[in-house]
């Protein structure tokens, strides 16, 4: 199956349409941050992703949707090589971040992941204090020269994650005593601390109640000023609310990739239509 949707020419023309959501979309297309070309992914002999090509633009929120097992999380994890540790995993094709091939020999995976941060479905704070959770990445990467710089960057990250006000008086209490929503924002703060360019989020709000979910969604909206955000979500409504672009995956294939309002009001593919209207999946 060929994916016309992912051809740059067609995709950029789609961007000229008026959009009420993000004035930036009305202007010239933004820089391509992640360029994926003919990517296939194998778990042993099983092909989990089939020939995926798409370009993710900087400072936008791009959502991946699709039924369970469609490959959206696998695809997300190829973007910072989180699948490398899986035995028998193998990829074909290219992932370029800012033009550099993420899978070229000699690429420092740790550096790559510093640039491409990740937040997981289940919040997974370290069993340490709130402060130490955020400071940890800075310390092991030697990113703060002094105690005061460290404290400054912890504060900055917690503020960016909209958590500072709630925790500033108990920075040295255990992170595990926080609520689920706070823990998730702490994980976001931890990811932000090392100043990545790109943040990958794998179902970041699926374990949270609606209020905590809304806070995460507002946070995502704010963060895109400074970061490129790629988010996998089971929750189609969430993708509709927060993303600028949406990619629909099905059985390891990229079916359609377009502006979010297009996907949810007038998708080009019948499969996408059936999925967003709830006829399957």
């Amino acid at each position: 199956m060929t994916h016309q949707v992912s051809s740059p020419t067609r995709f950029t023309t789609g961007l000229s349409v008026r959009d009420g959501r993000d004035p930036a979309l009305n202007q010239a297309p933004k820089a391509v941050k992640i360029d994926v070309e003919h990517l296939s992914f194998f778990y042993g002999v099983k092909r989990a992703l089939e020939d995926i090509s798409l370009q993710i633009q900087a400072n936008l929120v791009t959502a991946f949707i699709g039924p369970s097992g469609c490959g959206k999380s696998t695809f997300l994890r190829t973007l910072n090589r989180m699948n490398d540790i899986i035995p028998g995993a193998r990829i074909e094709g290219h992932v370029r971040i800012d033009g550099l091939d993420a899978y070229a020999s000699g690429v420092d995976v740790v550096k790559l992941r510093r640039k491409v941060g990740m937040v997981f479905q289940k919040s997974n704070p370290f069993p340490k204090t709130i402060f130490e959770n955020v400071a940890y990445g800075l310390r092991i990467n030697g990113l703060a020269a002094s105690k005061s710089e460290l404290a400054g960057r912890v504060e900055e990250s917690l503020k960016q994650a909209a958590l500072w006000g709630e925790v500033k008086d108990r920075l040295h209490e255990s992170a595990l005593a926080m609520s689920g929503g706070q823990q998730q924002r702490l994980c976001i703060a931890r990811a932000l601390a090392i100043r990545p360019d790109i943040i990958l989020m794998d179902e970041p709000a699926s374990a949270l109640d609606p209020i905590a979910t809304q806070r995460i969604e507002e946070l995502v909206y704010d963060l895109k000023q400074a970061y490129t955000i790629v988010i996998v979500t089971h929750n189609m409504q969430q993708a509709a609310r927060i993303s600028d672009h949406t990619a629909f995956f099905w059985l390891g294939r990229l079916v359609e990739y377009d502006r979010t309002d297009k996907i949810f009001t007038n998708p080009s593919e019948k499969l996408t239509e059936d999925y967003v209207t709830g006829r399957f999946g």
Binding site: A240, R241, T260, T265
Partner: protein
């Protein structure tokens, strides 16, 4: 958009009364801004419904906006219809001094303005006042009909211009109906009560 619709109704009636062809032609030519807004408002509501899953008050507000949008666009069209009748009427000698029609114009405009203020302020009291005003407009229309009928029976030359006046009164009465619809939508938006078709709702 509401302001534009109101203004066009005012200009159309003034053009009729003053026999001001320039003003009438301006109304005839000026429907485009309302039509453009009609499309834009629908598009925005459509997008909000599709992407944000509004619930409760928010959902009622957007549904109300979609319906009010249609009413306002129709009011703009009716202003054009009035201007068309006024254009023809200006080509005949006046049948009589116009008294009731300007009054109907004033009432219709006031109803529109109040209905839109009620929407903006979420004011159901004001919306209910609009509903009561509609009866006055209906009475005036009946009076205009009866009065013009006598003119037409007396002089066949008066039939054509008098018919245009009857049409104008009918259009103004329709504008009142649209203002009434808007007021009903406001009540539904604010208190989730459906007061259409004379079901008064517990508050009445």
């Amino acid at each position: 958009m509401g302001g534009l619709a109101e203004e066009r109704v005012r200009a159309a009636v003034e053009g009729l009364v003053a026999r001001d062809v320039t003003l009438i032609d301006a109304v005839l030519a000026g429907d485009e801004p309302i039509n453009a807004l009609h499309i834009e408002v629908d598009e925005r509501c459509f997008r909000l419904l599709a992407l944000h899953q509004p619930m409760a008050t928010d959902l009622r507000a957007i549904v109300a906006a979609v319906k009010i949008n249609t009413d306002l666009e129709r009011v703009g069209d009716l202003a054009v219809n009035i201007a068309e009748a006024a254009r023809r009427y200006a080509g005949h000698p006046p049948v009589k001094k116009l008294v009731d029609i300007p009054m109907m114009g004033t009432i219709a405009q006031a109803m529109l303005r109040d209905a839109l203020d009620a929407f903006v302020r979420r004011d159901t009291t004001l919306a209910r006042q609009v509903l009561n005003e509609d009866d006055r407009l209906d009475e005036l229309k009946t009076r205009v009909f009866r009065e013009l009928l006598t003119y037409m029976m007396q002089a066949p030359t008066a039939v054509e211009p008098a018919l245009d006046l009857i049409l104008v009164s009918r259009h103004l009465e329709r504008i009142g109906d649209h203002a009434t619809n808007i007021a009903e939508d406001v009540i539904f938006m604010v208190s989730a009560l459906d007061v259409r078709h004379h079901s008064p709702g517990p508050e009445a």
